[in-house]
Symmetry: D2
């Protein structure tokens, strides 16, 4: 396993020694089977001890085993990212038991679509809780630990709906717009403290079983790489993390080559 | 009092007869002492029977009396715009007892400013509840009653923070970004059903006692019209309401002439 | 004819006396048969001595006669807005012979559509010359005369293509994006000197013979007010001009009620 | 020298054989001493036969020698990117004599700053000619050769002024806004033909002798990596070029960690 040093030189890099090497630590919150898993695999491959969190920790077992089989190191955590005490505890435990966090990704989804008259208060609330409130909790806890070290990368996974309030997307877009606001505000406060904050706008369908089942005609009309491949998206997260701090990116869009550009 | 006919010809205009004239109905949710009151006065002056709502109905008495003294007709309603049952009841009661709503303004504020590490979950939630969730409830109830009539105007009062996540504004901006998303989504769904949805970006300080007290140096450095005058803002809401449906505006900014433009 | 006083009180209003009344002066550059003519009629109706300019002055005769027949006062000027000396001379002559300009509208079009490989350098240049360079000349000359008076309104007629570079629109969008940049830059420099600069985004088809001929199916699928009616657009320019300087708008979109929102 | 294969597998990669290896071809138009040179060095280091063009070919000699000394292969071309025939000839000659272009970067600058009243028509025109018109010529010629192959990357180097018309920047912003429009339009037309088009927003000062001389106080107030380092920016261009076509980025911003975010 190749051990990279993240943002800075080896001598000042946080991390723990394993067999004489330092492993930095990463955390993916919302480590679903698609993008979240791909990010975790990628960070593990780059030498990170990778923590993955989702509501149901049992569902993380295949991912942890897959990473281990590839020679990486991963830890699964059950965490409802909407619950403050759980998020606080997650960060504390990782920082205490695993290592200082070098990368944190907030990758929780929450897409729903209903006409406004069918949108219940509960649905509207839940979409926001997942897309925005959980993002706030993650961002605050990440900054709490990272800021004093003056280093680290915090990613927010955004969506088309973070820039465009489409019909039927009042709840999801309100959440994702809110997440983008949070990302901007966090970048403005902590960028000059040495924390790299980035908002990645996923503007197209990711190749998941769910998309394949729900949009069979769209999927059939495209070649395989006409859908977003999670591992390919992960390449870009990794490239953003590797940027030197003289030249950081805050926001970028990602879409398949044949996808209409809807965020411009 | 001059009675205007809002969006369409007299013959098909909703409203009730008073002394042989039809008065259309307007509602301002978040009718504070500043912009909300100015909007209410303006609609009343244009011949609307004007409903004003805020949490504490007692505080609305001076406004109602001021409107009555000027020859207008106003009704005060106590309503916590964050409570679904109260918002549902407010719209039902007005539609049943006063008249079909022709204008609805969502004008609830909620500005707070804290560094991210000082932002509690409760504060973050409350800012969203006021700025965004209450807006959703108001929009849904407004559409519930207006959509079948295929006419009416729904305003959202936005802010700089709806387009820019400034440092310290994570909560307020997340709420206002969310409100803007909701406005776009609502416009996309109901515009083609004949409802005019508009999002007004207030990009500058309104001339209020609060601003005068908190930012005395800024206020002292400007002439009176260097701050946003509520009655002047109300002119623009009224102009937007009067737009023919062949030429509707969805979004516009409003700022004092000497204010730096921060939303572009 | 009712004489309004534009932005300020009568006592300090520029203009000339006609039959004991002061008439302020307006200028529409690019006074075509559609929006430009509607703006001129509107300003004339509000009491402005209205100057209209287009390349071929002969084509302006019907408009001048129409305005005169309605009791207004209009003057036609032949001017190629892309020629510096002609634009300079136009402003000088109006300011000297007619009166101090209170409203200037830059309304030159220039829409063309070609695939990039079919776009000649000449076409690309001409689209920019009309959409952007002519706008610069008009803006500079307007500011040259207005700035010292610290009052007046300068409108730029924008388009969807000013915010979105659609396929085939490389030249027109490059021009209209450029015009929007110019509008922002002009607003930032002259707003705090008391000049109201506004950029109006026309986001939909205007009801013109050209549109009716070229897009018959689209036109047939809509009611009359499903297309932008020039007189209805003019209402909004007028409302923007009337804004008090405590509460100015820089940018707003205008589209028919049933038009998809493409600029958000 | 390590030879990478750009966007696709070795077997279908364009390029020429050199000592038994295929070298793909890159072109940087506007290869100044700062970012342009860094991009050229980077592409050469990645195994590209790198063509560099600027008005005065003599000034390119040190760069070509530097690349050769590092084991790379570079060619200098004198080309005024504002002259159609020169741009057409440049692409034809490279495609014929060097190899099929895999990467093209349009990196011409043109920043000027004047108050609107001091802006001459000539200055306004020249800023546009460099920032926008030259970009159009480069884009069209690049697409002419790349489109039929269905592969390749076209970069546009953008700027803060491409998203924000600051005071005094009417000419530069009009040009850079126009370039962004062109980039969007090109991406929309050629993205689905397999060409990766990207617009990189440089939002901050690059560490150049010119910046150090003109803004000494700003420079003195920052650590070295408080200015954009050209080589660090080049990392991101390279990462964008390496993106798989399932997950392409169209636009991203780049700024130093301590730079205020002005494009959001």
């Amino acid at each position: 396993m190749h051990v990279t040093d993240g943002k800075a030189g080896r001598q000042d890099r946080p991390g723990k020694f394993y067999n004489g090497r330092i492993m930095p630590t990463a955390l993916v919150i919302g480590a679903g089977d698609s993008l979240g898993a791909a990010l975790a695999r990628r960070f593990a491959r780059e030498g990170f001890e990778t923590c993955v969190a989702r509501r149901n920790a049992d569902k993380l077992q295949p991912l942890v085993e897959q990473i281990a089989a590839a020679g990486g190191k991963a830890h699964a955590f059950g965490c409802d990212a909407r619950r403050e005490e759980q998020v606080v505890a997650l960060f504390e435990r990782i920082e205490r038991d695993i290592g200082p966090l070098e990368i944190v990704v907030f990758n929780v989804g929450g897409n729903i679509r209903f006409g406004l008259l069918e949108m219940t208060a509960q649905k509207f609330f839940k979409a926001w809780e997942m897309a925005c409130f959980a993002g706030f909790l993650s961002a605050r806890e990440a900054m709490k630990h990272m800021a004093s070290r003056g280093r680290g990368t915090l990613f927010f996974t955004g969506a088309t709906a973070g820039l465009r309030g489409g019909e039927g997307f009042s709840a999801f877009a309100a959440g994702k717009f809110g997440l983008r606001a949070l990302a901007q505000s966090t970048a403005r406060e902590f960028g000059r403290q040495g924390i790299h904050v980035a908002h990645v706008v996923i503007d197209g369908p990711i190749d998941t079983p769910f998309v394949r089942e729900r949009l069979p005609d769209m999927v059939a009309s495209r070649p395989a790489d006409g859908l977003l491949q999670p591992d390919d998206i992960a390449d870009t997260y990794w490239a953003i993390h590797q940027q030197k701090r003289s030249a950081w990116t805050f926001e970028l869009d990602i879409r398949p080559w044949m996808e209409p550009m809807t965020t411009f």
